[in-house]
Symmetry: D2
């Protein structure tokens, strides 16, 4: 049984609170939030208590592990707190928006030797995980080409986009991680072309909403990632891996299985309305993997180094958007 404190009681914190409450091997003890009332409300819904101070939430007498779901600018600080307190930590990405500071944080935490997992929840998608299993089992042979699609239904609010770090760091970063994870290979360079097509104001804030990224992996294999902020047809996420022996894909997931046949067309249920509906089951699965690794002292299924690598790729990708050329990726951080 692992005793948990949840740091952050916003939207994603409340999602994690549900997973914590439902997990049979978790004792969900504390919730901390800068807004104490919000912490109290969330804790109350799940039989936990609200922590008065951050120090209370990181008290090893009370908890074994913290789930860091606070605002992005506090991830690094909270990771250091966990390291200082000797607590295990499950942390939302990114480690820190500044790559250098993220790298320092990782080094600091590694010296402390606590178990840490970055919450790359898409690694726990049922179909993506099966795809990785097939690739690892050699069913497609040597990887030659990976195609990832990441498309959200509608442009997030501009206020959000302004502080998001840009499409590469906010959206595509998940797929940089998936590409590394599925292939087991690191990328050596990245090229990205992007446009602001959904709303001209996206260009005004120096960002793009539609982009095409190409990665070259260390083996020479290639990766294509298309990232779109506005589809008009729901949330579309897919992965295709082509290798020397064949191809496997984690296909487009439909929100339902009903089809209507009338006249010359067949109309089926489309995709999920948004990313949350699509990836919801991955949150509990990711927490389950973290708890299981803790209890068996197994390696973490997504390390801080993985988090750092995804960020480093995103930085190079953001540069390529500006330079118009393939940018080298340095993962020796």
């Amino acid at each position: 049984m692992q005793r948990f404190a949840l740091i952050g009681a916003g939207f994603i914190g409340s999602v994690h609170a549900q997973s914590l409450a439902a997990h049979p091997d978790v004792d969900f003890r504390l919730v901390y939030d800068v807004d104490f009332g919000r912490a109290e409300a969330l804790a109350g819904r799940h039989g936990a208590r609200a922590a008065r101070t951050l120090a209370d939430a990181f008290d090893p007498a009370e908890v074994d592990a913290v789930f860091i779901a606070s605002s992005t600018d506090t991830h690094a600080e909270n990771l250091r707190r966990a390291a200082d307190a000797g607590l295990a930590a499950l942390v939302e990405k990114p480690i820190d928006l500044d790559l250098a500071r993220a790298a320092e944080t990782v080094a600091y935490v590694e010296r402390a030797g606590i178990p840490v997992m970055v919450d790359f929840n898409r690694r726990f998608d049922r179909d993506h995980a099966e795809l990785k299993r097939l690739v690892d089992a050699g069913e497609v042979g040597d990887v030659a080409l990976v195609q990832l699609t990441s498309r959200g239904p509608a442009l997030p609010p501009l206020e959000y986009l302004k502080v998001s770090g840009g499409q590469m760091r906010d959206q595509t970063v998940h797929f940089f991680d998936l590409a590394r994870w599925i292939t087991g290979l690191d990328p050596v360079e990245v090229f990205v072309a992007g446009s602001a097509l959904a709303d001209p104001r996206v260009a005004e804030i120096g960002d793009v909403d539609t982009s095409a990224a190409t990665l070259r992996l260390s083996s020479g294999a290639l990766v294509q990632i298309d990232s779109v902020r506005h589809t008009g047809y729901g949330y579309d996420e897919r992965i295709e891996v082509l290798g020397s022996e064949g191809m496997a894909e984690s296909g487009r997931m439909r929100a339902g299985g009903v089809t209507r046949f009338r006249g010359p067309h067949a109309t089926s249920d489309g995709l999920h309305a948004g990313w949350f509906e699509r990836v919801q089951p991955t949150y509990a699965a990711a927490l389950g993997a973290f708890v299981s690794a803790l209890e068996t002292s197994a390696p973490m299924p997504a390390t801080l180094r993985d988090g750092l690598a995804a960020q480093a790729i995103a930085e190079a990708a953001a540069r390529s958007l500006i330079t118009g050329r393939a940018e080298a990726i340095d993962l020796a951080l």
Copy 2:
């Protein structure tokens, strides 16, 4: 908030216990089972108490509603207890294996006026419910032909089959209900052909494991139901409704979304391993519908009369298997 007692702590009782524990508007109080230890174990896992006696479980001072998931031969008795105690009841089908006794029970309970729902959980399948919505909305026009497929992965143990009442009463009865529910029409006659193909001992106990039923509805529309006990490819359940304006179907549900392409074939994830994996989400949905009807005093989404009708069709179907001719169905019970 509805206070519940669960009657029966076997496999299906434990499934319902999870739904009861997770429902935000349910106060899961008591579990009763003829095996007190089993009741205690199940209650303990979900923060409920084990009832010492049936009377304790039906105590209106303790609970507002009972979930009757005890063995089939006790359904009728427990329904009468709920009626006597003035408790709402959610009951597993069948009401009673004997149709006459089932009819008497329904009359008794109706006189008491308690809210009762028969747990036809398949009505709460995401896709089946959407199909019904489409048919009700007139999207296929007047119904002409309904095709239902009900195929289980492997023959249940012979010991189970011997007491099951036969394929019509045990398996196909769910689909007799779905046919009535989706079309809003009553059948007037039924023909069934059946064989024991999976295991010759099925014939020895007077049952079949593969059957084809044809119903004629009051409008003249037709229904085909194929029921199979052994597929070798998992659990296969589908419904297709053809009408004057087109067709709609609740299609074959896949257990996953990964496809491998090698050589001349594409291999996709197949069907769910068994019926439970396929219909699991329907249990919580059915409970939710019952609670919602209780709280809003709305009509029950599946009444005792619906339960009785499905049983009456199953009786006629079982007769047709023997007579080799279409048997009339009398729903005026």
Copy 3:
């Protein structure tokens, strides 16, 4: 090289004329029709000549084989002519609308010993043929249940229906043949329920437009066939074979491969507009099989006995529609 005369220059005759003209091993010589002008026009389009008399068309000095595509009531007579002239014959079904006369014709022709094939063109559908190959190869194990769907887009003209012999003899007969062919098993009894739903005048002429047939095969395996005259969504033909080891299907064929995603739905190309668009490739394939059997003296892929069997099943099916009970099928004709 086989020299052919085509008997009948109506719609289906003109379809066969194209196949005859395109086949590399066919010398398409003559066209006969009761309307000489029509024969002349069709022959002219394909470099053949119009025959003045039936005798000319059956002249062994001119042709090696005849393709009998004349009106139904002349099939038997033309088969006897082919037998008398010692010509090979490819004949449209049915042999004769009267089963006894059909049986006599078959006996007469068999005594003459000419090679004859009944044009059960659906046996040459790409997917149906592959399905049969799989079943023959044992990939589904012992057949337990076969599901056939036969649905036309719109009710044919009443004038046609009046002389068609009824839905069993005109439409379902093709699927009686497919059931025997794919399973390699003969049916022993048949039950059919039917209704006139598309147009009440169908009932006035003693026919049905929507029917559900159940066959019991000699092994105990069951067959379900749904036959519909009016879908509102195009032409729908499918076959599913479930056996002791698994299932295989020749699925719903789409008229195109384009899908549009907008809002919550995905709209795909639907089915073929009509039966002709769906089965068109089978005509040339059937002719090819006949020619190939002629040139290699191989057994015909669909014999007169097959044609007779399908008709005998249709007769029993038509009786069952009236009696409301399963009718025995006697294939010892």
Copy 4:
């Protein structure tokens, strides 16, 4: 009726010969090949004559149009001959492997004013054409992202690759054309990353067999094209167009419609074995469009300027493979 000469009796010439012979409005007169015997054999199979000399094949007294399917290095010369003779021409791409010489040829032919169509046969694929119709009709709104997949089953012989001009000019060029055609937009720059993964000798001849191209269109919309020479699972060609209002795709085409269900998997017919099986119907359709444009004096559905544009994009793409940066595309040739 259009009288045709076919120039070139190799593999692709023999494909075109079949289309010419089958087209009702084509009088297939002559076949020319540098190997007279080969011309004679092909002509003989289709009721045409072999031309002794090129001059004979371009004789306006004999023919109205030429189909130029000779070796690549003779396309430009044969186009000039057609221009000089005042004959219409349907020409295989490319116009000439050298872009400057191709541009001169186009200018020369345009001065002559003859009707010319480049045989971009993929424009006549049933599904691609429907996709373009949808995009033109505004069903996806303003185009934002186009994804094209072009994957062949197995590496062509090295001898072929050596003279092919490289993957961009030989394979991807078709998809550069499709991207322009479907969107109605010209690209302004292109980036390509490529690797030789199927066979190291591909790198030795300075070519790639796996590549990812990104185009920026004049509107800012993006195009991704993945080109693969070796799949191990057949021929895979798809197009997806995402716009401001939704998405449409010309999906993966299957070679058959049979699915087998056994155990936990469903195995379906896969893709076509090779490009020819997949695109075969497009050849007759392209010829039909050319003849129809000739007979109605309509604009050609694929002009020499279209051919030149595709080549210019391929040149820039080939440069980008070397420079590692996005290369500008100049279509003002």
